[in-house]
C-alpha cells in the first residue's frame, strides 16, 4: 500500500508567530522525500501536521486525493518514527509493535505474522521479548521502525530518526533505510537538518527555510543548480564560496569582476540576468590550486583540512575574503604558502540581491 500526498496552501501559526506560510507540495507515491532545513524552519511542524499531531491552520492535506487534515492521527493510515523513538517503556518489543494493531482489532494471528515479518526484515527476532530499557540506541531505533512497518501504512514519516545515533551507526542505519524503502516501495517522508542524510536518501529534497520552501528537486539538482543563495550555502560541505562581484553583460556570457579587479568568465547567459549587485558563487571542488600567479587570483593558505581523499585549502585573498579550494588528498600545500586559485567559470553561479540564483547554460 502506498500513497501520494498533496499539501495545498498550508499555513501554521503558533500564537502570533507564523511557522509555515502558504506552503504547497506534491509527494508522489513510492517517493522518498526529505525535508531539509536548519532548526526552526518548520520542517518538523510540517511533518507533524501530516501526521495529525499539529492542527492545520490554513490549507489542506490529502492522501490519495482524500482530505485527511480533519482526521485524528490514527485514522490517517500513516506511521511515524520519532527522534526519541517514543517506545512504550513498560511493554516488550512485541507488545510495542502489536499495540497499534490490537487497538483496531486486527486478528491475533495476523498481528503475529506481521511482527515476525518485521522482525525478520529488521533482523531482530531475538529482541522481541525484551523491554526498551534493555535495548541499545540502535536496537530501539529498529523497534521504532518495526512498529511502523507492522502497520503497513500508506506512508512512513521519519522525524530526525538518526540524530540520536553515533556516527557509525547513523551511516549504517541510513543505508538500511534506503534498502527498506526499495523493499517496501512505500511513500516515505524524512525530516533532517543533515544534508548528507538528505543527499543520500532522497528521491527529492525539499529545502525549507524561514517558513517556506526554498527549492524542491533531486539531490544533484539541488547541489548543482541551487535555486537560491540560501540553498547554495546550506547544501554542500564545505559551504559554497561567495564573493561580491560586479557583472559585465556585454558578451553572450557574463564576466564577473571582483573588488581587486580579478575577472572570471562564467558560462551564465547574459540575457537572463539584470543589472545590480551580485554575488559570485563557486564550490570548493571547482576551485583548483595552481602555482602562484597562474590562477585567477592568489591567496595565502590559512588552514588545511586533510580529509584523506582530498584536502580542503582555506585561503585568504588580499582583501581578506576567504576562499576554500579542494586539492588532492596528498596535497603538498602548507599553511602560510601563497597559492594561485583557478576558478572553473563553467561551474560558477551568480546570485542577485534577492538571493535568486543563475547558473551556467545547460550542456
Amino acid at each position: 500500500m502506498t500513497a501520494n500526498i498533496e499539501i495545498r496552501n498550508v499555513s501554521k501559526q503558533f500564537g502570533a508567530m507564523t511557522v509555515l506560510d502558504d506552503l504547497s507540495l506534491s509527494i508522489r507515491a513510492r517517493e522518498f522525500i526529505v525535508f531539509l532545513g536548519p532548526s526552526g524552519c518548520g520542517k518538523s511542524t510540517l511533518l507533524r501536521m501530516i501526521a495529525g499531531l499539529e492542527t492545520v491552520d490554513g490549507g489542506e492535506i490529502a492522501i490519495n486525493g482524500e482530505r485527511i487534515d480533519h482526521l485524528p492521527p490514527g485514522k490517517r493510515g500513516i506511521a511515524m518514527v520519532f527522534q526519541s523513538y517514543a517506545l512504550y517503556p513498560h511493554m516488550t518489543v512485541r507488545d510495542n509493535m502489536a499495540f497499534g494493531l490490537d487497538n483496531i482489532g486486527v486478528a491475533r494471528d495476523v498481528i503475529d505474522a506481521r511482527i515476525a515479518e518485521a522482525a525478520r526484515i529488521l533482523e531482530m527476532p531475538q529482541l522481541l521479548d525484551r523491554k526498551p530499557g534493555q535495548l541499545s540506541g540502535g536496537q530501539r531505533q529498529r523497534v521504532a521502525i518495526g512498529r511502523a512497518i507492522v502497520k503497513e501504512p500508506k506512508a512512513f514519516l521519519f522525524d530526525e530518526p538518526l540524530s540520536n545515533l553515533d556516527a557509525a551507526l547513523r551511516t549504517r542505519t541510513r543505508i538500511e533505510l534506503a534498502q527498506l524503502h526499495q523493499r517496501l516501495q512505500s511513500t516515505m517522508i524524512f525530516v533532517t537538518h543533515d544534508q548528507v542524510e538528505a543527499m543520500t536518501l532522497a528521491d527529492r529534497i525539499v529545502v525549507m527555510n524561514n517558513r517556506r520552501i526554498e527549492q524542491i528537486g533531486s539531490p544533484m539538482e539541488i547541489y548543482e543548480r541551487p535555486a537560491t543563495k540560501f540553498v547554495a550555502g546550506f547544501v554542500g560541505a564545505p559551504a559554497m564560496n561567495f564573493v561580491d562581484a560586479a557583472i559585465d553583460r556585454s558578451g553572450d556570457v557574463i564576466t564577473v569582476t571582483f573588488a581587486d579587479s580579478t575577472t572570471i568568465a562564467t558560462d551564465i547567459a547574459s540575457n537572463q540576468v539584470v543589472d545590480g549587485a551580485h554575488t559570485f558563487g563557486v564550490r570548493a571542488e571547482d576551485v583548483r590550486i595552481a602555482p602562484t600567479g597562474q590562477g585567477n587570483v592568489d591567496g595565502k593558505v590559512d588552514v588545511l583540512e586533510r580529509l584523506g581523499e582530498r584536502t580542503l585549502v582555506y585561503t585568504r585573498l588580499s582583501d581578506g575574503q576567504i576562499i576554500v579550494a579542494s586539492d588532492a588528498g596528498n596535497s603538498r600545500v602548507a599553511v602560510g604558502d601563497t597559492v594561485g586559485l583557478a576558478f572553473d567559470g563553467r561551474k560558477s553561479h551568480l546570485f542577485d540581491e534577492t538571493g535568486r540564483a543563475w547558473h551556467a547554460r545547460r550542456a
Binding site: Y88, H90, G100
Partner: protein, 311 residues
C-alpha cells in the same frame, strides 16, 4: 590520583615555613558539624525512643517508676484485651476506607487537573489547600457539616425532604464519617504526587499512542497507568503509614465512640499510657502498631513490585 591533586596557596609563603598542600578530596571532619544537629535530634527523638519503647514494653512501668521486668506479659494482656482488639479492627477498617479512596480520588483529580489552564491551576490549589489545615480545623468543619438538624448535610437533605445520615452518632456510620473528613483533609498530597508523575511521562509516547489508534481508555490503561505505577505504590505506602496512625480526627470528632467503635490503636495507646498511666502496656501496643504498619507497607510493596521492569 586524588592525593596528587593539590591546591597550593597563591600567596607566597614565608621562607622556611612549611605549607601543607590541601587535598580537595580528603575527608574534612569539620563538615560533620553541618550534619551534627540533625543527627543529634534524629538520634534523641527517634532512635532512642524506639529502643526505649521496646524496653518499656517488657516492663511494668508507670509515670513515676520503671518497675520490674515482666517479659511478654504486656503483649499477652494486650491480645486478651477486647478494647485493643476492637481498636485494631477499627484501624484496619479505617485504613481500608481511606487508603484506596485517597489513591483513586487523588489519581482521578490529577488526571482531570493535569492541564495548563487557569481553571486547572486554581482547582489544584483549591484541592491542595485543605492539606494545610490543622486537624482541629478539619474536624471542626466536618462536625459543622455533620451536626444533626442544622448541619450542612442536614440542610441539603432537608431540601429533598430527606433525613441526613447521622455520621457521628450512628455506630455503623461513625467511622465512615471520620473517613470522609480524613479523605477531604488528606487528598492534596496524593493528587500532587500523581500530578508530578503524570507530568514526567514524555509527551511523545502519547503522540505515538495517538498514531497507534489508541482511544482515551486504551491510552489511560496502556500508557498512563503503567507509567505511574511506581508513584501509585508510593502513594499507597505513604497513606498506609499515615492512616494507621489515625488519632486527631477520632479523638476530636467522636472520642472513640460510640462504644469504642471508632477508637483507633493510637487512641488506645494514648488512653492506656497517658490516662490509665500503664506505660508498659501502652508501649507494647505501640510496638504492635509499628509491626502492623511495617507488615502492611512491606506487603503492599512486595505484591506490587514488578521484577525486571525498566523504564
Amino acid at each position: 590520583m586524588a592525593d596528587q591533586m593539590t591546591i597550593r596557596e597563591t600567596a607566597a609563603p614565608a621562607v622556611g615555613v612549611r605549607v601543607p598542600s590541601a587535598n580537595i578530596y580528603a575527608p574534612q571532619w569539620r563538615n560533620f558539624v553541618f550534619v551534627a544537629p540533625f543527627l543529634f535530634f534524629f538520634t534523641t527523638l527517634l532512635i532512642l525512643p524506639l529502643f526505649w519503647g521496646m524496653w518499656l514494653s517488657v516492663h511494668k512501668a508507670d509515670t513515676f517508676s520503671t518497675g520490674r521486668f515482666v517479659g511478654l506479659d504486656n503483649y499477652v494482656r494486650l491480645v486478651h484485651d477486647k478494647v485493643f482488639l476492637q481498636s485494631v479492627w477499627n484501624t484496619f477498617y479505617f485504613v481500608l476506607l481511606t487508603v484506596p479512596a485517597l489513591a483513586l480520588i487523588g489519581l482521578f483529580l490529577a488526571l482531570c487537573l493535569n492541564r495548563r489552564t487557569r481553571t486547572a491551576a486554581v482547582l489544584r490549589t483549591l484541592f491542595f489547600s485543605s492539606s494545610v489545615l490543622s486537624v482541629t480545623i478539619v474536624t471542626l468543619i466536618w462536625r459543622i457539616v455533620y451536626i444533626p438538624n442544622v448541619g450542612l448535610l442536614s440542610t441539603i437533605y432537608g431540601w429533598f425532604g430527606a433525613t441526613a445520615p447521622a455520621f457521628i452518632s450512628d455506630p455503623s456510620l461513625a467511622m465512615i464519617g471520620i473517613a470522609i473528613a480524613t479523605i477531604w483533609w488528606c487528598i492534596g498530597l496524593p493528587m500532587m504526587l500523581f500530578l508530578s508523575a503524570l507530568q514526567q511521562i514524555p509527551q511523545d509516547i502519547y503522540e505515538a499512542a495517538a498514531l497507534d489508534n489508541a482511544n482515551r481508555w486504551q491510552t489511560l490503561r496502556s500508557i498512563t497507568l503503567p507509567s505511574i505505577k511506581r508513584t501509585f505504590i508510593l502513594v499507597i505506602i505513604i497513606q498506609i503509614v499515615l492512616q494507621f496512625q489515625l488519632f486527631g480526627q477520632a479523638w476530636l470528632m467522636t472520642r472513640g465512640g460510640p462504644n469504642n467503635l471508632t477508637k483507633p490503636i493510637v487512641l488506645y495507646i494514648y488512653d492506656t499510657a497517658f490516662r490509665r498511666w500503664d506505660l508498659g502496656m501502652g508501649a507494647a501496643a505501640s510496638e504492635m502498631l509499628f509491626v502492623l504498619i511495617l507488615i502492611a507497607a512491606m506487603a503492599q510493596y512486595l505484591v506490587t513490585r514488578n521484577k525486571g521492569d525498566q523504564a
